[in-house]
Amino acid sequence: MSPTISAEELRLRYRNTTAVDGLTLTLDGPGIYGLIGRNGSGKTSLMSVLAGFRRASGGRARVNGQPVFENPRILPEICLIRGGADTVEHELRNRVSDALKLAADLRPNWDADYADELVSKFGIDRTKRVVQLSTGQRSALASILGLASRAPVTLLDETYLGMDAPARYAFYDELLRDSMAHPRMLIVSSHLVDEVSPILERVVMIDQGRLLLHEDAETLRARGATVSGPADTVADFVSGRTVLNERRLGRSASAVVYGELAEADRAHARESGLELEPVPLQDLFVHLTKGENR
């Protein structure tokens, strides 16, 4: 069964802010999805509504065509893990082994052997209380709870917070490995786009509670290009295109253009002595969400 998530005109308002602002989105089928957005762009809020942690203020959130909120048939299929210390906040007084036992009891697809494997891989002491773990270890534990739940829809909201680089890469490796061994929908939110982007199959970018784009990661990478060369030639080439960013250094310049480049365009660029390079998703993200600084 391949899961489908849909949001229609989804809204979430807090007392005096609108976190999700009329967002419409459909995600279909297994794979690793990246939910990319700046701090405060509404990633956590969106995920919270999709997982039934909060009720939407407006619009609809559905999984497999069914409304999510308080739906006993759908909720066991969804697992949201929120980042940093937040994730296991409900478990602070518990020992690691208790947190694992709770998940084993309540998660229909829990894989205890896999959880044990990950616990030793990340070097977590199961006899410790959750509150005694470092932030990084707590994040690792949270990630373990998310991965071993094997939920058809798994949402991992910045679960890497506080993990050091080796732990983060171990986490990405696991995410990738397990998504191939047990295909399911894994939605990873992050603002460390550079690190996470190679493992993404699809990218959902949101900004200020609205959908910015939803695209195949490869297509998106082909979507933009950094053009560099003599300033005049660059200016000629980019005229009439969407330019996200332009830099000049003496007589040479480089510009980031957004939009599909046809093979003829690429050939033309090469012939006129321009260099074309792909734009890392990170840069595309930075350019697309620049706006005013918040």
Partner: protein, 123 residues
Amino acid sequence: MFDEHSPIYRQIADAIRADVLSGALREDEQIMSTNQYAAHYRINPATAAKAFQDLVDEGVLYKRRGLGMFVHPRAREKLRDQHRARFFSDVVDPMVTEARAIGVSLDDVIARVAELRDGGEHR
């Protein structure tokens, strides 16, 4: 692992092409699965699949349903033809441009090529 100058799938395809050209990958030899590539290079399997698809389209690889990807019997030949066709535009022309830019006379270049040819023949 990857440079930032071209898309990852293209780099994977280039690496496989290079292996076929050098003979490291032989005709009808099975290559690693997309999942193995994905795990090894820490990339999404869809990205690896795109590289494979490009190579299938080019006739470098062929797919055996349920078994995986294999090197096409004529892949090496085809790649050599392609590279031969592009050799002058990709290698010689830029070399000449570079030589002119830095003031190396083309006669010297020709002399050097002749020297290498004769040296190569003696060996």
